[in-house]
């Protein structure tokens, strides 16, 4: 079953030209979390606050032994990448202390994520130093003998940003040395995972009542929640999952804006749903902290609930001229290792093309979703669409400018598995199609051209060598004609429905890998199968449904599987 964010209206922050993209990905993030995606990484606009947090430096430059501890970089016992930090305690209170954090803002809450393998038989203590207030304990690392992720938080003090640091020590040492391994130590301000109004992923107490009511045993909606958004996941009922704005509240129950022009749009009654409450207007990264530097490059990493645990990162890339925001997106087809900056390790298959000659996406290091200059006619809001399936085998985000007349200001793409066939393993079916970073503002990201910024032309698909190195790929289109003078495209040559059944005819997009023959054994073709993506005729109006709402026409010949219960607003 497919799940959607369908036409969720999200206001841009008026007057500050961020293009609304941070608001949009903030909403998408929380929808993916209720959909079962695991948070694996986050950063604020400064990126890494802790040098060598991923322990990949082949030295101890950024680490300081406490008391008489022995420190070393280890390449055998590693959680991610090539190295971990090995800390051997030799006395009570011995351990390791980091160098000073960098670019710490005053009086802000910071998060620490840390992977540790503690088999010492003793609990180790995690402390943070604040310049004005001294060292405080923020948590502990128990001895459980396995790599485990720990999360802590601290609040920076009012002094300058320097002299904040972290210390991990063996306070309980008693004559027996012990060794702990540390890896992937991240310090960041959270603009996503810890930045919300109510989290009921664990409680799973969401209740949908027909036609458009939402409530929860553990939360009573009030008038203050009007205008906020509910991200909800219903694994059973088609059309229930989504990101909905709350229209009104009464007696603890929220009425959701279904954004449908249908005569009687309705949700299906359901209980036990995972959900989150977010306030995009108040909390989305840009809104939360208008200090551009902190938020303009923030981002997150998520791991799919799919069995392959494929990974995806999104990070904003605010245009310095101040009129729009890109969102860079990069992926791996499995749970590939990555560094503290979110980049995948060079020995992993991913869309980071600097890592291997096979890792291609058309010449850019990241894929891009790009917002539109809000200073132009479409400035007031965005309309967010998102499609995935039960187990997160794929995602397809689409962000549309608010003004329907500016149809070409849309951004979107696809990432995920596209179906096994006799020519392709599951790994090889993994594809990513997003426009490149070289895009021009206001152009058609969602199009099937062979040049420029067409998302179809900037693809990558896993190859059949190594771990499945990502290889240049494109979505082919259909047409006839033997030369440019008489060439006709499927998208325009089909201008009416089949007269026998009054239906359009859509085709699963066909993917060509390594179509210029760069890599031995790699050229193949396959259909985009099982992902509800279709290629078809251009309709006169974008973002409309066809064939009795069976399909959603996005633009330029791209369609999604849709369902009869939802008609689009104009």
């Amino acid at each position: 079953m497919f799940h959607y964010i369908r036409d969720c209206k999200i206001n841009d922050r008026g007057g500050l030209d961020n293009g609304g993209m941070l608001e949009c990905i903030y909403g998408i993030y929380h929808f993916m979390r209720v959909a079962g995606w695991k948070s694996i990484w986050e950063c604020d606009g400064y990126g890494e606050h802790l040098s060598d947090g991923d322990m990949e430096e082949d030295n101890l430059t950024y680490w300081n032994a406490q008391v008489s501890a022995n420190l070393a970089k280890d390449t055998t016992t590693v959680h991610m990448g090539y190295r971990s930090l090995e800390v051997e305690s030799t006395a009570a209170g011995s351990g390791v202390r980091s160098n000073d954090f960098v670019s710490i803002q005053t009086n802000q809450t910071y998060r620490v994520r840390l992977w540790a393998l503690n088999n010492t038989g003793r609990v180790w203590t995690v402390k943070v130093n604040r310049p004005n207030d001294g060292v405080v304990t923020v948590g502990t690392i128990p001895s459980d003998g396995v790599w485990a992720e720990y999360e802590f938080s601290f609040t920076s003090d009012s002094s300058s940003g320097s002299s904040h640091w972290i210390q991990i020590t063996d306070e309980g040492w008693s004559n027996v040395n012990g060794t702990i391994y540390l890896d992937q130590l991240l310090v960041y301000r959270s603009f996503f995972e810890y930045n919300l109004r109510h989290d009921a992923i664990s409680a799973a107490d969401g209740v949908i009542s027909t036609p458009d009511q939402f409530s929860a045993a553990g939360y009573s909606f009030t008038v203050a929640d009007q205008g906020r958004y509910v991200a909800v996941w219903d694994p059973t009922n088609l059309g229930n999952s989504g990101l909905y704005q709350i229209s009104t509240t009464a007696a603890g129950v929220a009425t959701l804006d279904l954004r449908s022009s249908g005569a009687s749009p309705t949700l299906t009654a359901a209980t036990g749903l995972k959900w989150r409450l977010i306030d995009i207007a108040a909390d989305a990264p840009w809104q939360q902290d208008p200090e551009n530097t902190v938020t303009q490059f923030c981002g997150f990493g998520l791991e799919s609930p799919h069995a392959e645990k494929w990974r995806m990162f999104m990070r904003a890339n605010w245009n310095t001229s101040g009129d729009y925001t890109w969102v860079n997106l990069w992926t791996s087809p499995y749970d590939a290792d990555f560094g503290a900056n979110g980049d995948f390790a060079p020995f992993e298959a991913s869309t980071h093309d600097t890592k291997s000659k096979y890792n291609k996406n058309g010449g850019n290091s990241c894929f891009t979703i790009k917002g539109r200059n809000p200073g132009s006619a479409d400035s007031s809001f965005k309309r967010v669409f998102f499609m995935t399936d039960d187990d997160g085998s794929f995602i397809s985000p689409v962000i549309r400018s608010g003004d329907g007349s500016v149809a070409n200001d849309s951004a979107g793409g696809f990432a995920g598995f596209t179906g096994v066939d006799s020519y392709h393993t599951l790994r090889e079916s993994f594809c990513v199609f997003f426009p490149s970073t070289g895009q021009t503002e206001g152009t058609d990201d969602i199009s099937f051209g062979d040049t420029g910024n067409a998302f179809s032309a900037h693809g990558a698909q896993c190859g059949d060598v190594g771990k499945g190195w990502m290889t240049r790929s494109t979505i082919m289109t259909l047409g006839y004609g033997g030369s440019s003078s008489d060439e006709l495209d499927y998208t325009t040559a089909m201008w009416r429905t089949n007269p026998y059944d009054s239906k359009w005819w859509l085709r699963k997009p066909r993917i060509a890998r390594d179509y210029v023959g760069e890599f031995t054994n790699n050229p193949t073709e396959k259909d985009m199968d099982g992902v509800g993506m279709f290629h078809g005729p251009e309709q006169s109006l974008p973002y409309t449904t066809i064939d009795s709402n069976e399909y959603l026409y996005i633009m330029n010949g791209w369609y999604w599987d849709w369902w009869s219960g939802h008609e689009m607003l104009a």
Partner: protein, 382 residues
């Protein structure tokens, strides 16, 4: 039941007016249709079809033996050396056993009056033991069938497919035309498609004839002939699109060769189909090819790198293309799926494409009757 194949049958014809291959083609096609249990609806009773100068011998007791791979025996007999270089048509009867050895074969040698050897390059599968088989030995040029003749034919009655196809030779024999009656109304209203014209070569005396006829049981109803005439390939196809609406009489005819004697498998532009539309008016339709993006011409895309890989024997994935009606007020809608296979590949033309297909020119894949079906010959020599 299965498809009926003719492979590499050398059709020889002599003298005449140098435009004899249209007549020769119609004759050998008619014999093939009969052998395949297709129905001859109208042949205008041209006397050439039954003239003793063309029909050397008709027997109903031919014997085939799996152990004698190219030998045919008849107790009645009547073979003589004058039949060498003639063609023998082996009729099926519509049953699996009765269809086992059907086909057309060149007689390679007459052993005696009861025994002949045929050319193994015509045999699309190993023979089975079979007795009581109807055969006919024939040639096509003594006399020729007349110019301007029509031949109307229909799939086997057992198939239940109600469509007629028509071949018409022009008044000089320099061209012939192929039509379809998609509504199966040849006997009444005669709603006919536009024709595809096939301009025949001048001054040739033989060609290598290949044919595949569907028995109607395959979900993809496709039929095609192609011959090599010493200068290139000539081909035509007819069949029905699949995945059409139930009410759609989606029968088509197709030309696989350029109209103007530019021999060789045709370019994509000419892969147009003649059909009737929903008002039963004549309409063209076109095979859609994959290409690199919108506003990219198909020819350039197809001629790009092969999308084939070594671990798949260098064969690209095949596909049955969509068919779109022409860019006109009457067209502009997707009609269905073409029954023949196509591919994107630089795989050599005329080479095998797996056990079931031969790769022809311009990425067309033509049916093959399994691993024992020999390759189409690009030669008219013995």
């Amino acid at each position: 039941m299965s498809d009926f194949h003719v492979r590499n049958v050398r059709v020889y014809f002599s003298g005449g007016d140098n435009y004899d291959d249209a007549q020769a083609f119609m004759f050998v096609l008619r014999e093939s249709l009969i052998a395949a249990q297709w129905q001859i609806i109208d042949d205008e009773s041209d006397p050439a079809y039954n003239d003793p100068g063309n029909i050397f011998l008709s027997l109903s007791d031919a014997q085939f033996a799996a152990a004698s791979a190219t030998e045919i025996y008849s107790a009645t007999g009547g073979f003589d050396v004058g039949m060498e270089s003639g063609i023998i048509s082996v009729y099926g009867d519509g049953t699996a056993a009765g269809n086992a050895n059907r086909g057309l074969y060149n007689i390679k040698k007459v052993i005696d009056s009861n025994t002949i050897l045929v050319d193994e390059r015509n045999r699309v599968a190993p023979w089975s033991d079979q007795t009581g088989v109807t055969i006919r030995v024939f040639q096509v040029d003594n006399p020729y069938i007349a110019n301007s003749r029509n031949l109307v034919f229909q799939p086997p009655a057992a198939s239940g497919i109600n469509v007629q196809y028509q071949l018409t030779i022009n008044s000089t024999g320099s061209q012939f035309y192929l039509y379809a009656y998609p509504l199966g109304d040849y006997a009444t209203t005669k709603l006919i498609t536009a024709s595809h014209v096939f301009t025949v070569p001048y001054n040739i005396s033989s060609f290598r004839f290949n044919l595949c006829l569907s028995d109607g049981n395959d979900p993809h109803f496709r039929n095609l002939w192609y011959w090599y005439d010493g200068t290139g390939w000539v081909g035509g196809a007819f069949g029905k699109l699949s995945q059409c609406a139930a009410a759609d009489p989606a029968f088509f005819i197709q030309r696989l060769v350029n109209q103007n004697q530019s021999y060789g498998w045709d370019v994509a532009l000419e892969h147009d189909l003649k059909m009737l539309n929903e008002t039963y008016a004549q309409i063209n339709a076109n095979i859609m090819y994959y290409k690199d993006g919108v506003n990219v011409d198909v020819g350039a895309s197809r001629e790009r790198q092969p999308l084939a890989r070594a671990i798949n024997s260098n064969r690209a994935k095949t596909f049955r293309p969509l068919v779109l009606t022409e860019a006109s007020a009457e067209g502009g809608f997707m009609r269905g799926i073409h029954p023949m296979e196509y591919c994107h590949s630089s795989w050599p033309d005329l080479a095998e494409y797996g056990t079931d297909y031969w790769k022809m020119g311009y990425n067309t894949i033509v049916p093959r009757n399994g691993v024992d079906d020999p390759a189409p010959l690009q030669s008219t020599a013995w």
